[in-house]
Amino acid sequence: MIDWSRTALTIVVILGGVLTLAGMLIWVERRLLGIWQERYGPNRVGPGGLLQSLADMIKMFAKEDWIPPFADKVVFVLTPAIVVITALMSFAVVPITPGFVIADLNMGILFFLAMSSLAAYSVIIGGWASNSKFAFLGSLRAIAQLLSYEVFMGLSVMGAVLLAGSFNLSEIVEAQRHLWFVVPQFLGFLGFFMAGLAEAHRTPFDMPEAEAELVAGYHAEYSGMKFGMFFVGEYLSVILLSAMIVILFFGGWLGPWLPPVVWFFLKTSIFIVLIFLIRATWPRVRFDQLLSFGWKVVMPLALINLLVTGGVVLWKAG
């Protein structure tokens, strides 16, 4: 029997925590980018600039909520909600500690992959509904990029699934008690990380929203809090990507001395900072290079990785 009150409490805690974290990450990223560029970053609002996101939010709410007259209004308004909803839905299956999970599905990874595929729709229809050329070009890129990177995102996860013998995320973490999957599955980790960066539209794979060429890509026409939703959605997917990497390849909540929640939080933060560091360092790749790299390099590597892992698992099973 499901304990409803406990589930409801977990939902509230995870939802509140994750949304607050996503808001804070906007400040954290700007601050870190500043520090890495020998500046301070936003440090005026609140202690050390801590309330910068709040100030940004007030500003965004006060802005004119402009819907372009040439846009498809219903879809245009609906899209930002899809971004946030799909990102938040994925958190339902993220096990933070053994008991601290909303829905411990036995096919949690598939649910995660499905939700990240749905998130692709928001980008595509958002760009389409905007009815402007920059948004349209951005969403065209997003379609091509997500189609190619979705494939080996699934493939590179399958290695971890084979080793753990389960689609359940909690069981995958438990299977890493003696050895983190990053060691036997290093190629899988790299593939998943790259695919995740492409999925979250982060540098070096942020072609759909390349500021230099496409203004802001698929959300060029959005303003006010609708733009804010895209923004929060992006940071939600950064958190989600980091959390999934930690769960699949870095032993989730497992670790000595400290309580499981702290371990999970620490590991996730390291990957969030790494993603910001990549943003601060690497340039954006060219779009044809992005696709050829995906299909010609990462895809074969993911397949070889899956083949070898499957062979080893079968050989061990005798």
């Binding site: 520090i35 890495w36 020998e38 500046r39 301070y40 560091l277 990549i278 360092t281 690497w282």
Partner: protein
């Protein structure tokens, strides 16, 4: 293969180089609390100075207004009959919303009257407040050149000084005594 390895090494090296910046001090000067150092010859706000006796240095020669590339200086010369027809500006007006702080006026000035001082905080809410009149420009001190007094070194007759009484000046020559 070597090339691929080099690419990967460079990418990771780049990450490390950027990460090292975490531990360096930002170069930002946090302005309202921290002030930048302005050298004494910094070209900022324009002032009109006085000579050591407390008189206006400006002799209203119009050279600054002529030198000004953006025509932001306007003045009107007049003469003071009590000080032996000493010239001074009746009004002196600088439009700082035009001024480009080039310092040509200071270069052109024969009496060190107009000077640029290290001050850049001239923001105003209304544009008309950027127009400074003589009473806004005139300061009570000597500015950057403390001892200089134009009338004490120039061979011009003023109230208490006749020709030939200036510093390093010989008495006027009686031209008739120069006959061969």
């Amino acid at each position: 293969m070597m090339k691929t390895w080099k690419y990967i090494r460079d990418l990771v090296l780049g990450l490390w180089i950027v990460f090292k910046r975490t531990f360096t001090k930002p170069v930002t000067v946090q302005y309202p609390e921290e002030r930048p150092y302005l050298p004494p010859r910094w070209r900022g706000r324009i002032v009109l100075t006085r000579d050591p006796d407390g008189e206006e240095r400006c002799v209203a020669c119009y050279l600054c207004a002529v030198a000004c590339p953006v025509d932001c200086i306007a003045l009107q010369a007049t003469e003071d009959p009590t000080a032996h027809e000493r010239r001074y500006p009746e009004f002196f007006r600088i439009n700082f919303s035009r001024c480009i702080y080039c310092g040509y006026c200071e270069d052109a000035c024969p009496t060190y009257a107009i000077q640029l001082v290290p001050d850049f905080e001239q923001s105003e809410y209304a544009r008309r407040n950027m127009v400074y009149e003589k009473e806004d420009l005139l300061i009570s001190g000597t500015g950057k050149y403390h001892g200089y007094n134009f009338y004490r070194v120039a061979g011009v007759k003023v109230l208490d000084k006749d020709k030939g009484q200036a510093e390093y000046e010989l008495p006027p020559v009686d031209v008739r005594s120069l006959m061969p």
